[in-house]
C-alpha cells in the first residue's frame, strides 16, 4: 500500500524536483545569476514571486495524495488540511447560520469565506481551483511551447519552403477564432483536463511561434552564426546551442504571459460550459454558478468574489513577474 502511494505521488515530486534543479542550475550560470541579482532588487517582483510560490505550494499540497485502504478514495494533503464537513446550504463568510433557506440551520464549523449552494466550504473550493488553473496553464504550455519553438526555429533558420509551410500553418490556425477551435476540439475529444489542454495548446502556439521565428530570422544572419557555420558546426547544433540560448530570455517572458492568459482562459471555458466537468474544483465553475446566486436575495456574492480574487491575484503576479524579468534580463546583454 505504501509503495503504491509513493508511486502515485511520483509525477508531482518529479515535476517539483525538475523545477528546483533547473532554477538551481541557472543560478550557477553567470548570465542568469546577474539577472537574479537585478530581480532581487525589484520589491514588487519579490512580492509577485512570493505569491506565485505560495500558489505553487498549495498546488503541490493538492497534488500529493494517498489512499488509506485499497478501496478508499485518494485524499490529497490539501483535503486533509482544509476540507470541512458540508453544511446544509449557503452561508455568508464568517456567519454562524445558513442563509437563503426557509429555516436557518446552525453551522457545524467556521467558514471564513462562507459556503456554497451544497454547503461546501468556499475557501476549500478556491484552494482546489488553483490546481486546475496550474494544470491547465502548465500542460497547455507543455504542448504549445515545444511546438512553437520547433516550428519557429526551423522556419526562421531554414527559410524558403520550410518558412512558407510554417507561415501557412499558423496563418490558417490564426484565422480560425480561438474559441471555436477550442469548443470544436473539446466536443470532439470530450470534456476533461487533457482535451482542454490539447485544445488550448493547439490554439495558443501561434503567437509564440511568430515571436521565435522573427527572433531566429534576426539571429540567423548575425556574424556569430556565420562564424559557427565556418567552423563546421551542424545546423542542429547551431539551432540548439547558439540561437536558442539567445532567444531564451524573450521566450521565458512570453511563456510567463502565455501561462497567465491560459489560466484565465480556463475560467472563460468553464463559464461557457466547455471547461472542466462540474465535479472538478475550478474557479470557472464557481464563477459560472454565481450567475443565479447574484440574482437571489440576499445576494450570494462570495463565490464570485473569492474565485475572481484568487484568479486576479495569480494573473497579476504572473504579469508583474514577466515585466520584472524583462527588466532583469538586461536588454543590452541580449543584443550584444
Amino acid at each position: 500500500m505504501i509503495w503504491q502511494n509513493i508511486q502515485a505521488n511520483l509525477p508531482p515530486i518529479i515535476v517539483v524536483a525538475l523545477f528546483i534543479w533547473v532554477l538551481n542550475r541557472s543560478r550557477r550560470e553567470v548570465l542568469w545569476a546577474e539577472a537574479y541579482r537585478r530581480l532581487r532588487k525589484n520589491k514588487l517582483a519579490i512580492g509577485a514571486i512570493a505569491v506565485i510560490v505560495l500558489y505553487l505550494g498549495l498546488v503541490f499540497l493538492d497534488s500529493v495524495s494517498w489512499q488509506a485502504t485499497k478501496s478508499a478514495e485518494p485524499r490529497s494533503a490539501m483535503d486533509a488540511l482544509f476540507q470541512k464537513p458540508f453544511e446544509n446550504s449557503y452561508s455568508a463568510p464568517l456567519a454562524s447560520v445558513t442563509s437563503g433557506e426557509a429555516v436557518e440551520h446552525k453551522l457545524g464549523a467556521k467558514h471564513i469565506l462562507g459556503t456554497d449552494s451544497v454547503g461546501e466550504d468556499v475557501l476549500y473550493r478556491v484552494l482546489k481551483g488553483m490546481r486546475t488553473s496550474f494544470m491547465i496553464g502548465g500542460l497547455s504550455c507543455a504542448i504549445a511551447v515545444p511546438v512553437a519553438l520547433f516550428l519557429g526555429l526551423i522556419a526562421g533558420y531554414f527559410g524558403k519552403f520550410v518558412d512558407d509551410a510554417v507561415t501557412f500553418l499558423f496563418t490558417v490556425f490564426g484565422s480560425v477564432p480561438d474559441i471555436l477551435l477550442i469548443i470544436a476540439t473539446v466536443m470532439m475529444l470530450g470534456r476533461g483536463l487533457f482535451s482542454i489542454c490539447f485544445a488550448l495548446g493547439i490554439s495558443s502556439w501561434i503567437g509564440l511561434c511568430r515571436l521565435v521565428r522573427g527572433e531566429t530570422l534576426k539571429h540567423r544572419d548575425r556574424e556569430y552564426v556565420r562564424a559557427a557555420k565556418a567552423l563546421g558546426v551542424s545546423d542542429a547544433r547551431i539551432l540548439t546551442k547558439h540561437i536558442l540560448p539567445n532567444l531564451l530570455p524573450s521566450v521565458i517572458i512570453a511563456v510567463t504571459l502565455l501561462f497567465s492568459s491560459l489560466a484565465l482562459y480556463e475560467t472563460i471555458l468553464s463559464y461557457i460550459g466547455v471547461g472542466m466537468g462540474p465535479e472538478a474544483g475550478s474557479w470557472g465553475n464557481m464563477i459560472d454558478s454565481s450567475r443565479d446566486e447574484l440574482t437571489r436575495d440576499p445576494i450570494m456574492w462570495w463565490n464570485l468574489v473569492f474565485a475572481t480574487t484568487a484568479l486576479l491575484v495569480l494573473v497579476l503576479s504572473l504579469n508583474i513577474l514577466a515585466d520584472a524579468l524583462r527588466d532583469a534580463i538586461d536588454p543590452r546583454l541580449r543584443t550584444e
Binding site: L31, Y224, A227, A230, L231, G232, H242, E336
Partner: protein, 272 residues
C-alpha cells in the same frame, strides 16, 4: 612562381533575389559579376571597395558559406562549390573567418572556453577535455590574452579583446587560410594597430594566407601583397601596392584614392 595558388576564384557570379514568376516581377540584383583572382600561399590579398561593391559576398563564397550563382572557387585545387558533407567538413578546418563586428561575431551566451573548444570537438582536435583546455590556453596566449578569461562571457570584454577572441576561435581548428572581413573597422586606431600586428605575426608564425576585405586603404597599404579594387560587383583594377597606389589606371581607383583624407594637413586634396 610555379607553386599553385591556395585559393583560386574564377568567374564568380552571385545574383540575389528571385526571377520573375507568375505574380511577381523579377527583383534580381547582381551582387557579384565575373570575379576572378588567386591567392598564393602565405600571401595577403586585399579586396577593397565601398559598401555595396560585393566584396563581402565574395568573401562568403570563398568560405563556401554562400553558393555562387555560377563560377568556381578552388581551394588547394579542389572545388569548394560542389562538396559532399564530409568534404565540406574537411574544408571548414582549412578556411576560417574573422568578421568586423566584435559585438556580433561572438555568441553572447557562450563562454570563451565554449567558443574556443567548439571547433576542436567538431574536428576531433585534442583527445579529451583537458587537452582541449591546454590548446585553448595556448591559443589565448598566442593572441595575447590571459588563460583566466576562459570562463568569461563576451560582454565582459572590450572591442579589441573580443576581436582577439574571435581570431583565437578562427585559429582553434588550425586553418591555412583566413578570410578577414573588415577585422579592424570597428576598432579604435590604437587597438587597430595591435590587431594588425597580431595578424601579421600569426601569418609569419603559422604560414597563413589572408583574404583581407576592407574599405580602409591605409590598412591595405600596410598589410597587403596584392590588391583587387572592387566596384559594383566587379574587380575594376588589380595589382601590387605600387601599381594601385602609385600608378592607378582606372578612373574609379583614382577617385577612390583621391577621396582618402590624408593625415598631412598641407595636402588638401579633397576638392571633388
Amino acid at each position: 612562381m610555379t607553386e599553385a595558388p591556395i585559393l583560386q576564384i574564377s568567374h564568380l557570379h552571385k545574383v540575389f533575389g528571385r526571377r520573375a514568376g507568375l505574380l511577381r516581377k523579377s527583383d534580381e540584383k547582381v551582387a557579384v559579376g565575373d570575379v576572378t583572382f588567386d591567392v598564393r600561399n602565405g600571401q595577403t590579398v586585399a579586396l577593397v571597395g565601398e559598401s555595396g561593391s560585393g566584396k563581402s559576398t565574395v568573401g562568403l563564397m570563398a568560405l563556401g558559406l554562400l553558393a555562387p550563382t555560377s563560377g568556381e572557387v578552388h581551394f588547394e585545387g579542389e572545388s569548394v562549390v560542389k562538396l559532399n558533407g564530409a568534404q565540406r567538413l574537411a574544408l571548414r578546418r582549412k578556411i576560417q573567418v574573422v568578421f568586423q563586428d566584435p559585438y556580433g561575431s561572438l555568441n553572447g551566451r557562450m563562454t570563451v572556453r565554449e567558443a574556443l573548444t567548439e571547433g576542436m570537438i567538431i574536428h576531433k582536435l585534442g583527445a579529451n577535455a583537458a587537452e582541449r583546455e591546454t590548446r585553448a590556453e595556448a591559443l589565448l596566449a598566442d593572441v595575447g590574452m590571459e588563460a583566466e578569461v576562459l570562463n568569461r562571457y563576451p560582454h565582459e570584454f572590450s572591442g579589441g579583446q573580443r576581436q582577439r577572441v574571435a581570431i583565437a576561435r578562427a585559429l582553434s581548428v588550425e586553418p591555412k587560410f583566413i578570410v578577414l572581413d573588415e577585422p579592424t573597422s570597428a576598432l579604435d586606431v590604437s587597438v587597430q594597430s595591435q590587431v594588425l600586428n597580431l595578424l601579421r605575426r600569426l601569418q609569419r608564425d603559422r604560414g597563413l594566407s589572408y583574404l583581407f576585405i576592407t574599405h580602409n586603404l591605409a590598412v591595405v597599404e600596410y598589410m597587403a601583397d596584392f590588391v583587387c579594387v572592387m566596384s559594383q560587383g566587379e574587380i575594376v583594377e588589380r595589382g601590387t601596392i605600387e601599381d594601385i597606389f602609385d600608378t592607378p589606371k582606372e578612373a574609379y581607383t583614382q577617385r577612390l584614392l583621391s577621396s582618402i583624407p590624408s593625415t598631412d594637413p598641407d595636402a588638401h586634396r579633397l576638392h571633388v
